[in-house]
Symmetry: C3
Subunit: 460 residues, 3 copies
């Protein structure tokens, strides 16, 4: 099939249209929250704050910046491993995330920060918008190299919407705890993306197989992404937890889980190669599974050894997934998962949801203290007569809701994206930047000898 | 013309001389401010601080580190897009910034932190020194590839001095608000750099035209710079704002403006290419214009939608500038602007100054609260009887002062840099690392097959 | 000699065994400290905290994240300068650091955070674990390219242990101040690593000489490491200092020292080249020596000009070391120091220890205030009748203990690592990723012309 990949009008019109709509909706709906408004001076006096530091900004801003780096550099560079798709990986991720955070501010705002006729945004909204976009970045990994930027914008539009609905059901209706988003971000994002790529199945994709691999330097660029994700994940899982011990604990648990995950990923990667050699794909991806899988339970009393166990298991499961499951999914289930998000976000996300449900079920006032238990799970208001076991059941329910939303949503969005006029590349042009990017000419010769004769001699 | 580019004595002597002078001046003038001095323990008791956190360090340090990354990694890598100028982009930026921050601590210190015979430095001084150097990094973008490191040190020496004078006039005499430096940093830096490059016009620069473009991986390195600038810009614009809501609001506004700017940059980049393809130059640069243009107004009540509108406009204007204005400036006005700083810092800086002046003019106590208005614009002391409209007029005056300083200063410094003994490269050797750097020999063959026969076989 | 470098069973077994032991030990010993435990709500009330911000998390977490970046991206990428060893540099550093931080949490925990039968971990433990691993990363630089990942894990196991013992002797027995670890991290790490590489001397290493150098892009990757180390070093040296002015001062001193160090490194690099050209090795490494050398004294009243002087000297000494000392050590003392850690961490570490001892000796209550002096050096408890001069002597003693521990420990560990079954590479295969990594096939042609004929034409 011959596709028209000239996006000269489609991409500009899509971008400008979306941005104009966003400006109008922001104009109608979005205002600063009380901590970002000049009237905060009054609030400070009324609430008897002893210090300007009580502004929410100082609790959350460093974490926000770390999360921001994860979304734009982390996800963006993680996907640059493909030899001819670096511009698109970083550039399209940049585009979809920049659109997504604006749309997420609105969608999440209507659900969670809407009162007196306005959405009130503060630093926590910025973090949550980044989180929401994180789930789109996950899904992008599944379709990487096979879609046009217009398709990505459409996908982002729908996925952010569905994410916000799902998040509202989980956090506000089911009263689920999911600080690091094992369910809302990773499970939802992964299965949504996998469903979309399943709908967009390309039977002749092997025509661009030679570009669906790395070269030496592209793997190093990808490690920039991996490491920034890995290092800042403690901030990700603790960014919106309760002030104080919960944020502190979430960071420690994530740190532990990720460390353990590296060792088991390396172990399996070596063990599964006939000469014991390590595979960059595993080091780039499976080492991160531990961060996904403590997303829900990080702020709970998972205990440091519990975190290590979670990371231990996920490094193994994720690496096995890359070696055995990804080829199986592609061959048998026609799911072409470019980045292997099923192994990094799908299974670890489910594990994370289960770990969260079990950890919540086991919560006792011995471990948390009476106050601590009420604060940690919000056992007040209509949840006054909840107990830990009930919380655990609702946690489990949250997992199924997320999976259902992902599958149903993914099918619908996949069908929309299958329409032939979005500028998608032909099978033989997948994983190729030059379809959508003006490419630099390769230099005639990259070699300039240290004593280059083309340089004018310098005077003695 | 044959230039002597052997810097063996000129560069070392310049560096060592400058550094010795800095050591002496620091010895005579620089001390810790009260929050970085051990006597702070006493101050804490006297001022009845309830917490060690009241130390200014905790309000500003995370923002400082983000700004620091912008200056050294952000600007440094942004300029690595040239195929043979990566060492110089990162390395010279490193050098000039390391010198500049020390000199800026002194210059800004004399103007703003000098009392009891000493300059007192704290974390806010570090941020301001980084800001000042940011303006030099901007100007570096205009002359990139065409000057020697000695010239850059001379330029930095003068530019930091002029920056500090200009900043003093704006902030202390005109009482202008310019938290993110649309005027002091970007407008001043851009027009200063453009004037210098205009004076240094090289009529035969097309002789090194083939190196004045990117290769595949150099564009990816440049995206590291772009993204760290983009992500940390909210910290840049909020770093020295008032504690509390002002810092909070500045971060939100910058976040919004930058997001909108990405979409319109992409839209224009695609629309202006005959096949609708995106140009990496626009993605690397125009996407940042939104951060420049909310520099002045970020801490004001610009409103989230106002920020979106600013970003919206700047993405368009900046991309148009790259496509139409840069070639025009070079062909007609003899301004060779290597990085296109006119489009990223020049025009957006002016837009930012105007947006700031208008936003200040519109400030009312309805919007800010009576207290809030006084705090936001410092309407106390001799400004007690100022009103918003007056503030707006002074804001506008600040823009003209900055432009005048940049033009006059740029001409003088340009003439100094035109002297023939600074080791500048010949026209045919511009944009080439090997003039100033020991280059690695290229490997005979970069290809090592996975089962490389040069490797000894391992035992079974 | 033919080595078996197939790690299929050795590496997985080592990783899994270590990780299982860590899980068990964490299960038995590690719990959250009071600021990361849900009972913190009670502590808050008992200790009358006015704000959640009093949680140690908010004092230290931003610094922790910066240090974390230094360990994983900083050290990891700094070592990617080798043309064919990028995967191993980043990947093995990732592996050893992930293992090391877990083991360090235990070892340092037993010495410093063990009470009521448990190790209690909080954010400060995470920072200290990263610090401890920093010393292993330093030592890794000496043996880079010549050891297998199994050897690195064994080395990490022993070095973390020795580090913790040495740190305990210095900080707890000798009551030495060493906030930025000039002695405990850099001096110990460097001389430990140099001793190990001395024991592991490879007489035929010139067989892989052609890979022991950089290519153009590998040097740019290394600059990512350099810059993140350089930028975040103020956080490194201030991360575990006392709250308030000490943290603040440590950051300022480090900032100053590093800035001065850049100028003198550049000066010497140019002066020592016959055509005045700069050497990337010096820019990547010597510019950091100033951070090492203010490690001990950063939190003391070194004064800004004192910091500049330290940086000034270290840039010179370090660059001279790269030019003259490293070849001498290799030729005469049979110390093959791949990254030149002797110049970056060894000598500057010793300088740092001396600067610290002198600065401590000169401390007076005039400069620090009576309170300040007691707080800064902990002159209470059994140190009540100490004075500054005594502190200075103990500082000096700390240096000699660190050197002795490094030498003795390095010999023992070196001998263990010399055993022939750890999978080390043959001399002709050193500095080569493909020994331990599955390598990507190089593309047939990296050149795709902008109007690539392999791309299907798009419809008009």
């Amino acid at each position: 099939m011959v596709w028209n990949t000239n996006l000269r009008w489609r991409l500009p019109v899509t971008c400008l249209l979306l941005q104009v709509v966003l400006v109008v909706l922001f104009g109608v709906f979005v205002r600063y929250d009380s901590d970002a408004d000049p009237h905060w001076t009054n609030k400070k006096m009324q609430e008897n704050f002893t210090s300007d530091l009580e502004n929410e900004f100082y609790y959350r801003y460093p974490s926000f910046q770390d999360v921001h780096v994860m979304i734009f550099v982390g996800f963006g560079f993680l996907m640059t491993f493909l030899q001819r798709y670096g511009y698109s990986s970083v550039g399209f991720n940049f585009l979809l995330a920049a659109f997504g955070i604006q749309w997420a501010l609105l969608m999440q705002g209507w659900f969670h920060s809407y009162y007196q006729g306005y959405i009130h945004v503060g630093v926590e909204n910025l973090i949550n918008a980044d989180f929401c976009v994180g789930s789109v970045c996950v899904a992008f990994g599944a379709v990487l190299g096979k879609v046009s930027p217009v398709q990505l914008l459409i996908m982002t539009l729908f996925q952010v919407t569905l994410f916000s609905v799902n998040e509202y059901i989980l956090l506000s209706l089911l009263e689920v705890k999911d600080a690091g988003g094992s369910m809302t971000i990773h499970t939802f994002g992964a299965y949504f993306g996998l469903t979309v790529t399943w709908i967009l199945y390309r039977p002749s994709l092997q025509q661009s197989k030679e570009r669906q691999s790395a070269v030496y330097h592209s793997d190093l660029f990808a490690m920039i992404g991996t490491l920034f994700l890995w290092m800042y994940w403690p901030s990700f899982n603790s960014a919106v937890s309760n002030h104080g011990d919960a944020q502190h604990r979430a960071a420690i648990n994530t740190y532990c889980s990720l460390a353990a995950c590296v060792l088991t990923s390396v172990a399996l990667s070596s063990a599964l190669h006939k000469k014991g050699k390590l595979d960059m794909v595993h080091i780039q991806n499976a080492t991160l599974a531990g961060g996904v899988a403590v997303g829900t339970a990080a702020e709970m009393m998972l205990m440091p050894y519990g975190s290590l166990i979670v990371g231990f298991i996920c490094g193994i499961v994720s690496t096995l997934g890359f070696v055995y499951l990804t080829p199986f999914l592609e061959a048998r289930l026609r799911i072409q998962d470019t980045c292997g998000i099923h192994n990094l976000h799908g299974i670890p996300g489910i594990i994370g949801a289960i770990v969260g449900a079990v950890t919540a079920s086991c919560a006792t006032s011995d471990v948390y203290g009476v106050n601590g238990l009420a604060v940690a799970f919000g056992f007040d208001g209509f949840k006054t007569n909840w107990n830990a076991s009930m919380q655990g059941k609702f946690q489990a329910a949250g997992l199924f809701v997320s999976l259902a939303m992902a599958l149903v949503g993914g099918i619908i969005v996949g069908i929309i994206l299958k329409l032939p006029f979005w500028g998608q590349p032909a099978d033989e042009n997948c994983f190729e930047d030059s379809v959508y990017w003006e490419m630099p000419e390769e230099p005639k010769s990259t070699v300039l000898h240290p004593e280059d004769s083309t340089l004018k001699p310098s005077e003695p």
